[in-house]
Each structure stands twice: as structure tokens, then as C-alpha cells.
């Protein structure tokens, strides 16, 4: 056994580490390659851009264009992020700075719980509670108001069935709140004590301390949380599929149905009998992979710039 504790053993250890690390990279690349290969009949047949920008998706006639799904994914995930960001940030600030310890603990526990609830449960709640409520209390009144006072809005609103973009965005927003909130909270808690004390020493109020000393330093973590939430929102399948109404007819309306990339894959994969149909679904998976990669790269870029800014400020 002794030889393990020499340079030789050291090298074996390093080699194993290298193997595992390259394995992770190989896995990601292999996944992208397999998705590309599976989708290649469609990607070659229609061209990557032609496939991504075409608006027709008709499995019966063998016409496949992914634009409705890309658009749906972007609208739903960006709106959900936008809706959830400020409440999540407010929660994080309250928990980290204002709340008494016992209350902060309760809120933290509930946030963790929100993140742990399976998305299918959110979806069920969406079908049976949120969507009917939205239809009766929000969409129908708005629809009737618009039809009397502002008929120009009607094509934008769409048919008020409760199952559509609006419900999907609201469900998704509530699902990603804990991600943004938890990371923002940790980032705020990590700001060094000296910064707060220095600000207080200068006579700053609690709000000013927050604005001048804490938030600028925590910005990186807060943004990281937002990007994590966005990544989650882009890939979310089950809950969205259950409430979004699954209609890929453009143009999308606020109340009307829409569809996202994960939702069409989950929906049509099991019964895709034609080879071209299956290939088109895998190609959608490939596009989703690209979109997720884009989100991650942007996140990495923003974070790095942020870090440099903070270091410059110090």
C-alpha cells in the first residue's frame, strides 16, 4: 500500500480526477452531438435557421417549424423572471436585513419548501385553482370591459379560457421565486460586516446602508440567482404544459393558449410515429440545448463583469 503515498500515487489520483472531469465535459458534448444527430434529418432538410424560424408545425403534413415554441419559451420564461424578480429580491432583503430571526427562519423554510414542491403539483393547482379563478375574476371582467370600452385591445387579449400564457407565466413566476430569493439572500448575508459598519459610521440610515453598501456588493449573487431562475424557467416542462393551453397558433395572445419547447417535446414524443416527426422533436431539443447554453454563457459573462466591477470598486 505504501506506493500509494508516493508521487506515483499522487499521479494516479490526479489522473482519476482528470478522467472524471473530462467525463463531465464529454457527457455534455455527447448530449449535444446526439441531439444534433437525432435531429439532423430535419435540421438538414429545412436548415437550422429555416427550422428555427418557420411558423408552421403540422405533423400530419410533415411540416415542421419551431418558431412558435421558441417564441413561447422566450415569452413565458422572461415574463416569469420579470414578474418574480422584484418580489423575490424584496423577500431576500427582508429576510436578511429586517426580519427577526424566528420570522426569517420560517420564511427560509417556506422558500425551501416552495423549491421542493414537484412541478406537477404546481400544475395541478394551476388546472384546478388558478386557471378557473383567473378566468372568472380577471380575464372575463377584463374581456367584457375591453369589448365595451377598448375593442382595439381584444385581439391582444384573446379568448378568456383561463388556460394560456397568463396562467403559465404566473405559475412559473411562483415556481422560480425561491431560486432568486435564496441566492439573493445568501449574497446579502455574505457582504462583509465592515462595509455596513463603515456606512453606519458615516451616518447612513438603514435604507442608505442597503442601497450604498450592501446591494452593490451583492449584485453578483443576485444576478446569479436570477439567471439560475431563468435557466429553470426555460426548461420547466410539466407545470407549464398543464396550464399553457398548448396551442401553437400564432399570434399568441395574453389569455389564449401558447406552447413552449419543452412542452411540445413532452406532449408529442410518446406518439411520434413518423420518423420525421420524431426527428423534428429531437431537433427542438437541440435548439433548447442551444438556448440553455446561451443563457448560461450570458450569465457567466455578466457575473465575470460584475466581479471585475466589484474588485475595481474595492
Amino acid at each position: 500500500m505504501r506506493w500509494l503515498y508516493t508521487h506515483f500515487g499522487d499521479r494516479i489520483f490526479a489522473f482519476i480526477l482528470l478522467l472524471l472531469a473530462t467525463g463531465v465535459m464529454a457527457l455534455a458534448l455527447l448530449m449535444a452531438y446526439e441531439l444534433y444527430r437525432g435531429g439532423s434529418p430535419v435540421l438538414h432538410g429545412f436548415g437550422l435557421l429555416g427550422f428555427a424560424l418557420d411558423t408552421q408545425w403540422d405533423p400530419v403534413r410533415g411540416k415542421f417549424g419551431a418558431w412558435p415554441y421558441i417564441l413561447g419559451t422566450l415569452i413565458v420564461s422572461l415574463s416569469a423572471l420579470f414578474l418574480s424578480f422584484f418580489p423575490a429580491l424584496a423577500t431576500a432583503i427582508f429576510v436578511a436585513e429586517y426580519a427577526p430571526k424566528w420570522l426569517a427562519q420560517i420564511i427560509n423554510f417556506l422558500l425551501d419548501l416552495m423549491a421542493a414542491v414537484p412541478s406537477v403539483v404546481y400544475g395541478l393547482w394551476g388546472i384546478f385553482v388558478l386557471a378557473p379563478w383567473l378566468r372568472d375574476k380577471v380575464q372575463l371582467p377584463l374581456y367584457f370591459w375591453a369589448s365595451e370600452h377598448a375593442p382595439a385591445l381584444l385581439p391582444l387579449l384573446g379568448v378568456p379560457t383561463g388556460y394560456g400564457l397568463m396562467s403559465a407565466i404566473l405559475i412559473l413566476a411562483s415556481m422560480v421565486v425561491p431560486y432568486t430569493a435564496a441566492l439573493a439572500r445568501d449574497a446579502i448575508a455574505l457582504v462583509p460586516k465592515e462595509h455596513r459598519e463603515a456606512a453606519y459610521a458615516l451616518g447612513a440610515t438603514h435604507w442608505e446602508v442597503l442601497r450604498l453598501a450592501i446591494l452593490p456588493l451583492a449584485r453578483g449573487g443576485i444576478l446569479a440567482g436570477a439567471f439560475l431562475a431563468l435557466g429553470r424557467a426555460v426548461g420547466e416542462t410539466m407545470a407549464v404544459t398543464m396550464v399553457i393551453g398548448n396551442s401553437h397558433k400564432l399570434p399568441y395572445t395574453i389569455f389564449g393558449g401558447a406552447a413552449t419547447m419543452p412542452s411540445v417535446i413532452a406532449n408529442e414524443f410518446t406518439e411520434a410515429v413518423e420518423d420525421l416527426h420524431l426527428s423534428a422533436l429531437i431537433a427542438v431539443g437541440f435548439l433548447l440545448f442551444l438556448v440553455a447554453m446561451l443563457v448560461n454563457f450570458t450569465a457567466a459573462y455578466v457575473l465575470r463583469r460584475q466581479e471585475r466591477l466589484v474588485k475595481g470598486a474595492l
Binding site: 400530419v60 388546472i127 404544459t241 397558433k249 408529442e268 410518446t270 411520434a272
Partner: protein
Amino acid sequence: MRKRGFIGVLVLLGLTWAQQSVTLVGAGATFPYPLVAKYADAYVRLTGGKVRINYQSIGSGGGIRQFLEQTVHFGASDAPLDDQRMKEIRGRFKTNALNIGYALGAVVPTYNLPGVQEPLRFTGQVLANIFLGKIKTWNDPAIQELNPGVKLPPLPITVVHRSDGSGTTYVWADYLSKVSPEWAQKVGRGTSLAWPVGVGAKGNEGVAGVVRQTPGALGYVELTYAKQNGLAYGAVQNKAGRFVLADLASIKAAANVPLPGDMRVSLTNTAAPEGYPIASFTYLLLYEELSANKAVASEEEARALVQFVNWILTEGQRYNESLNYGALSPVAQQRALALLSRVTYKGKSIGKEIVNR
């Protein structure tokens, strides 16, 4: 002590090995899963554990693909293989594929209309026009005319369809294509469609959920699902002009028509006067020459497979109706058994031998 336990496990493994049970693997449609699971359960008990069935309900598309890749003993699909696939199989494996219908399913229009008690009546034309978005409200004259005694509310119709690819959708669209040229031309038939209007919900349970939550909704679900969940569903006019409510008798009757020898037939809009017009077979897929299937390793396995299918087509049929699936009519049963008797293994006609026993 630990060693002895280890040896015990080995002995147990050896015993199960010695018993030589055959496991038949199948994959395919989700719609008949409860029925196939019931068959499997009953058959394992019948054979004293000698034949086990492992059925994976991965969907018809997956079932057909696994069948072609020969990872399964039998495939299962809600729609029969089309001519192109049949030809491909003949070319690739030098044998035929058999589409053996073993149960019938029906699709019913289900709706949520507050205050309407008796089942509504629909014609295919009206259903097609609703799903095309041409009939928009419940008190439309076209619907009122069919239901003279019913006071229909002026609610807008919310069309609800399956968002997931589904054999149910195929049967529904197949029927609409037959009764409405406009539907055939604009939408067509398939497991996933480009729907002109409506809300898409996932699975029978999703459609039922949306219909239940939305006053004025009209969707379509499997009869089994509608019955188990007490949904309101309408009667549909068949080719003979009768308004038929889907039930076990009317589905069984739908297959009481001249059937082609290979059973690859669409039963929708059936000519049978008592038949429900939106019914269809669900199929098992077998290779005619079983040795062409890489998954079938030995003659013993081939025989076990044929025996199992033979049992489904005869004694197993009594499980169909208790689970709300249609049983085979005498004509259909004869056709299915005739197909099964064509099965061979390395040239030996084991199908004939087992069916005629």
C-alpha cells in the same frame, strides 16, 4: 453467518434459474395499459409463474419503434401499421408483420353544460364544425336542431383537445376526416394535429380536468375514462342514422362489419346499424416468422408468445368488458385467430398448431 446468507441467495437464484420461466417483453400504447396489465397478472397466475409478461406503456410510436428494432417480443399500437411500414418490414426482415386486434376502444364527446341533464346528441358534421371553429356557441341552430327538447345556454364553446400525441386523437380525427371533407382537407388525421381552435390539455385526465373546470367546454376522452370519472358525454349519429351512446355493446357492434383479412381497418363511421361510430381496434404487433425477431431467442419463447396471444384472444377476452374495453365480436375474433395461426418459427407452423388445439 454472512457467508451462509450469501450462499442462501445463490441457491435462491439457482432455483429461479432452474424453474426456467419465460419473460415476454412488450412495449407500446398507453391506452390499453390497464387491460394488458390485467392480462399479464392473470396469465402469470394461470401458468404458475412460468410465463411472465413485462409490458412497458411507452406510447404507440415507441412501441412501433421498439418492434422494428426487435428489442421486444410484441409491440402494441392504437393504430395498425401503415402500408409503407408493412413494406419496409417485408424488405428488411423478409417476413410480414401481423396486426392483431384484441380489444376495442371508443372516444366520446364530453362536455360541461350547467343545467343540461340528458345526454346531448351530435352528428359528425356538427362535431367537425365545432372543432373547426365554425360553430361557436352552444345555442347554435345546428346543435339546437339535433336536441329539440333541450334548453341550450348561449355559452361560447371552449374546445378542449389532447395536447399530447395520442391514439385517442387519431381515432377522433380519423372519424372527423371521414364525415367532414373540410376537416380532412384542412386538418387531417394523426396522433398530433395542427388544431384550428381550442385549448390543449395533457392526457385524458387533463382534458377531463379542463372540461370540468370550464362551463361550456367540449372535449373528447376515452370511454373508459369518461365512465370511471362520471363525465357527461353525448350520443353520436352513426352511418345508419341512429344516435348511439357509447357503451360496451355498441362498441362491440361497431366491429360487426366485413373485416379485411389483415385486420388493418378503421372502424370509425362504421356501417353497423347498432355500432358506435367513433370506435377502433387496439393492436398487438407480431412478426409472422418469429425467428426473424431478434428478441425471440428460442422456439420455447416463440411458443409461449403465441400461447399468450391465443389466450388473450379467447379466454382473456372476458377481462375486456370488466375494464370497460370492448370485447371482440365473433367475426373479429375469428379474424384475429386466423392471423395468429399464420405465425411460424423457423418454418414450423406453431401458430396453427396452438390455435387449433
